[in-house]
Assembly symmetry: C2
Homo-oligomer: 431 residues x 2
């Protein structure tokens, strides 16, 4: 092979969980060079040089400035593991691409928010920009969409892309515990960050599904167009009631293409208990891809963690070594379709609506009448005594109906005298 | 991109389901060239030129001899869809590689039986030899193991790799029908071949798991070392009894690496009902990959059919166009580890044993005593009246035990006067 004797000098910026995991991996596997040659880490950069790390970096050239590392003549491949959509991560990746260096990154925010412009830089320089580790950690969702599904037309992708939320929802159900309780424990155990907003607010999942949408549909990534709802408002009561109806609540990230445009969204959603997404518990990630020719493909695996994510970065480095040149997304940056977002109010979903009402006669009649007036057709109805619920919960599921109609019905029901709080709306996942 | 204006001339040998599907795909997608350039089919070859086909081939250059197509100056990429481990498929692939042409094939038998020597030819010529469509149709198991898992050490892969068998077993269970009945219907519907031996005998699954083992472990593929048992002997009675015990019978193909060597096998096996493999019904294919760093990854999708398989072939053609050079298996052909097969009698499994006995006192005592003498420890025991079983079925599951001990116990039980036929042994899948 022509690359047999080549030495690939890798510069690694960011030495947190993934960066340390990568150095550990390369130390354990000095033979790691699937296509021949050798991989050598020559330089590193991080915020603190002296911080205790699971790997010894004393023999590596230290760079205070990741941009200097990115453009160093000693860097053949630049690996960006700093994180953040802007700031030093973006500056260093841009500098590396402009200097004609292949870039490997695990940075979902950077790719979701600046992917199109970075793809243009990479393609102008004729170098790869790879980001397998940005989505689903060690589970190769990016490679599947970018490479394996290239002989198909993908119409939708949907899945569980945030392990922290999935862990919290699973624990709420199995332990019968409230959201705040489980979150606090997850933070103690290190499963959730001290500022958990990116995860529990759905923003992390939204970054990831934005990237997958661009790969699947050949449109420019458009994070700003994503509809995002996190799991902060998911109550134990709804987890229990959903289960009584045969569903489990999951934070589902989805991207759908229709003649009207593209819809990218993250919502707590109900998945039927028998569905693989409902059964992917704990910190697992899972994804369905639906292509016109291939049909439905399902992939499931660990979505985070040092080992899996570092393995994904290593696989990207191996891809750089093969010399493959392909578009960063599904088509060259200059030919990516514009991202036309579907108007959310025109979306049609089946819904789960939960009300908390006073225990008095005539309430169900009033609710049913209001729904009928709004034009909402009911699929199932459940009233169940629940202790400590602070009222009587009534839960109903609807047939598929426009979002605008649902919101109107909820606004009307909220005003009924017997309704104690704003009715809770959750979508039933279209999976 | 440097390949922007390049025209890729593709020669397609074999115009059955997959070949016709590929021509149809390329006709529908004249823009198919993810990295730029154009893909044009210039020549075709098949057994019969005049046979009715869903695509018009009159404008394409016809070759009676696939070797001539493979080596034609008008062929940049040779696509082999003839099938069969030897004969014209092998001759044409060898000729193409020797002529320095990239090869894409869907031929599992060819790769499983001659993969190492073909890899050596491809790597000597510096051209890719790709076979995504050979395993799991449109579901990219090959790419996952060859590329995405290259940053990991994989210890086992296990799954359902033959859709025909999975369809037959699913139908037997759901319809309460015997094997022969369902097979005949599958043949009528075109889900099974008129000679179904390759599928139902487990040979097709064995070809596929042989290829996955080579990709996963970096050893030369060794089809001759695979242990193969098909589904012909699976009785409806066992499907029912297994379900009573909480299992579903699936044809499981597995490859495991241990310090003793590699074990590649195909057996009807019991999967717990709650396990994803048990839930993959109908013609689905499914696979678990277990890596030391990444953990467990699961992938599921359609394993056959014109659309999915042609899409996989198209994705391989796109990979050729990227210019990527990597080893055909996990390591260059010259560095593939020898395949050391584990002695099957040393294998340790949990087992399901079903006996058919006379309805008389003392039978259970005799069976239990025989098992104790052989050193088999029982995990669960079930005796159940079953109509028309021709005797009383007794079923038991064992703790993990060496295969040689199990066989010995079965030989002894067969000789008991109350035992009506040779006890049936099925493995409980280690998944």
């Amino acid at each position: 092979m022509s690359t047999a004797q080549k030495q690939w000098k890798v510069g690694v910026a960011g030495l947190g969980t993934v960066g340390s995991g990568l150095l550990k991996f390369l130390a354990e596997r000095p033979d790691f060079a699937p296509a021949g040659g050798r991989v050598v880490v020559t330089g590193v950069s991080a915020r603190s040089r002296s911080r205790a790390r699971p790997v010894d970096i004393s023999a590596l050239t230290w760079f205070d400035d990741p941009v200097a590392l990115a453009t160093s003549p000693e860097t053949d491949v630049f690996v960006e593991l700093i994180g953040g959509s802007d700031g030093p991560a973006k500056a260093a990746v841009e500098a590396a691409l402009k200097a004609g260096k292949p870039v490997v990154t695990a940075n979902k925010a950077l790719i979701a928010e600046h992917g199109a412009e970075l793809a243009a830089l990479a393609e102008a320089a004729g170098v790869p920009l790879l980001f397998e580790a940005a989505v689903m950690g060690g589970t190769p969702a990016v490679k599947m969409l970018r490479e394996a599904m290239v002989g198909d037309d993908v119409d939708s992708v949907a899945g569980i892309l945030n392990g922290t939320c999935n862990f919290i929802l699973s624990e709420m159900e199995s332990g019968g515990r409230a959201f705040g309780d489980v979150l606090a424990e997850a933070q103690r155990l290190g499963y959730a960050e001290s500022d958990p907003t990116m995860d529990i607010g759905g923003f992390d999942a939204a970054h990831k599904i934005t990237i997958l949408a661009a790969l699947a549909f050949g449109c420019a990534p458009n994070y700003a167009a994503a509809e995002i709802e996190g799991i902060e408002q998911v109550e134990l009561l709804d987890i229990k009631l959903a289960k009584d109806l045969g569903y489990r609540i999951k934070l589902v990230a989805s991207a759908d293409r229709s003649p009207d445009g593209v819809a990218v969204r993250v919502h707590p959603s109900l998945a039927p208990l028998s569905h693989p997404l409902a059964q992917a518990g704990g910190a697992l990630n899972a994804l369905f891809i639906e292509g016109r020719r291939i049909g439905r493909i399902y992939i499931q695996g660990p979505g985070a963690g040092s080992g899996p994510t570092a393995a994904a970065v290593a696989a990207d480095i191996a891809d750089v070594m093969t010399g493959a040149i392909r578009p960063v997304f599904q088509a060259p940056a200059g030919k990516l379709k514009p991202f036309v977002a579907v108007d959310p109010s025109r979306r049609v979903s089946k819904a789960y609506i939960r009300l908390l009402v006073k225990d008095q006669p005539g309430v169900i009649a009033a609710v049913s009448e209001t729904l009928a007036e709004s034009g909402v057709s009911i699929d199932s109805f459940l009233q169940k005594p629940v202790e400590d619920a602070g009222g009587v919960p009534i839960v109903l599921t609807t047939h598929a109906i426009a979002e605008s109609v649902l919101i109107d019905a909820i606004n009307r029901m909220e005003k009924l005298p017997a309704v104690l709080e704003r009715p809770r709306l959750l979508r039933i996942a279209r999976i």
